[in-house]
């Protein structure tokens, strides 16, 4: 069963007040007030001097579970929202792999699901590793090998630079921050086991045409609730079994309304990072996981639900259920 062996998150310490972004982003006074009052966005994390490589490296080198296990890493998946992040032939992913001693691993990017790509990458990583164990549970890549600390691993990276206006803001909805995460995935780990994954890709919500923007606004929360329920059904659980929800940090009011819709206590949704980091693309789930652990919200055996919506060239609604 797919499991998270370790998670590391890097959020730059530099914080930009939302008011300071009004000029660069062309925000009106009303839009700034709306972001702060209802969307709960006060500050955005930015690393003005750091490159994408720097961001990814800071997250990856903080991943203690990776140290000494580099030889076991078979895949490196880089989940990101932006389809293009560097001019050819520059490839930050391959540079990071070389620097980490992972040049032997098969490395590729997971994209086109915007901010839901992080969950997809975990799912792909687990399935690739599981497929490698086709020689059976007694083989070197099977569950026994994993428990002996010799089985294959995958590294899931995410993180982006908010380097264009389109990458810095989704109109009247969210402002993006910078950061990165690194997550070590195994096929048969014992902790933070993935119990279920559900994903609904809705190609009709293409922001490029804007034709269905109003419909997306109307259906956003019901569609997110639907995919969360699908993941719960697949796991054989109900919301009552869920200790905490790890949201995507799109904004505060969306998740306040989600809590009302789901009848789920707001204090059990990890909303802490919205105000101080903004929406950090695919990194939110991992940052909120780390916050949940730091706050002692997760005890062994607790089930939690991660949920994300990726909106852009179509919309993806995704949810995962884990057991800590």
């Amino acid at each position: 069963m797919t499991a998270l062996e370790g998670v590391s998150v890097y959020l730059p310490s530099a914080r930009i007040p939302i008011e300071s972004l009004a000029g660069p982003l062309g925000l009106t006074g009303m839009q700034v007030k709306l972001f702060r009052r209802f969307h709960g966005l006060s500050e955005i994390s930015r690393d003005p001097d750091g490159s994408l490589y720097d961001l990814l490296m800071k997250a990856a080198t903080g991943l203690t579970a990776l140290r000494g296990q580099e030889h076991r890493v078979r895949y490196v998946l880089y989940a990101r929202a932006m389809p293009v992040v560097a001019p050819y032939p520059v490839n930050p992913l391959h540079e990071v792999c070389r620097a980490l001693g992972l040049g032997h691993a098969l490395a590729f990017t997971v994209t086109h699901q915007s901010c839901a790509g992080g969950l997809l990458a975990i799912d792909i990583a687990g399935r690739l590793l599981a497929a490698d164990t086709a020689d059976g549970p007694d083989g070197p890549d099977g569950p026994d090998g994993q428990h002996n600390g010799s089985g294959p691993l995958a590294l899931v990276l995410s993180g982006e630079k908010a380097f264009t206006r389109a990458a810095q803001m989704f109109a009247d909805t969210t402002v993006f921050g910078e950061g990165a995460s690194a997550c070590l995935v195994s096929a048969f780990g014992v902790r933070d086991r993935l119990l279920a994954y559900a994903s609904n890709v809705r190609g009709e919500f293409d922001s490029a045409t804007g034709e269905n923007d109003a419909r997306l606004q109307r259906e956003y929360r019901p569609s997110l609730a639907e995919v969360m329920q699908q993941a719960l059904d697949e796991a054989g659980l109900t919301l009552d079994d869920i200790r905490v929800v790890l949201p995507h940090n799109v904004n505060l009011v969306t998740w306040q309304r989600m809590c009302t819709l789901l009848k789920f206590p707001r204090e059990r949704v990890v909303l802490d990072n919205i105000a101080v980091s903004g929406h950090v693309f695919c990194v939110d789930m991992f940052a909120n996981y780390q916050t949940a652990r730091e706050r002692g919200l997760l005890q062994p055996g607790d089930r939690y639900l991660a949920a994300a919506v990726g909106a852009g060239g179509g919309a993806t609604f995704a949810a995962m259920v884990f057991e800590h």
Partner: protein
């Protein structure tokens, strides 16, 4: 959605309606008056983002804070419905 017509709450609701119709006419740049029975989406082209902008203006002018997380747009069809919600789900700023 029921409309309270009497008492202090009813008076506040009328104040909300009065302010809201004025603000809406300005935000929508309408020369014709906005009335209580107008449908938010079909007649005024409401979106959730526009609704939040309207709430910000109302909060400023009426010096209140609205419990926006409790809003359910599916049961708020008209300007009057929204005014009733705001009158019943707000507190002094």
């Amino acid at each position: 959605m029921a409309t309270p017509e009497t008492g202090v709450e009813g008076e506040f609701r009328l104040q909300v309606v009065d302010t809201m119709t004025t603000v809406l006419a300005r935000l929508l740049d309408r020369s014709e008056p906005v009335t209580e029975d107008m449908r938010l989406m079909e007649e005024l082209g409401f979106s959730s983002t526009f609704g939040l902008e309207l709430l910000l203006e109302l909060e400023d002018q009426l010096e209140i804070l609205v419990d926006v997380e409790l809003m359910d747009q599916n049961v708020m069809e008209t300007v009057g419905d929204l005014a009733t919600f705001i009158a019943g789900h707000s507190r002094p700023a």
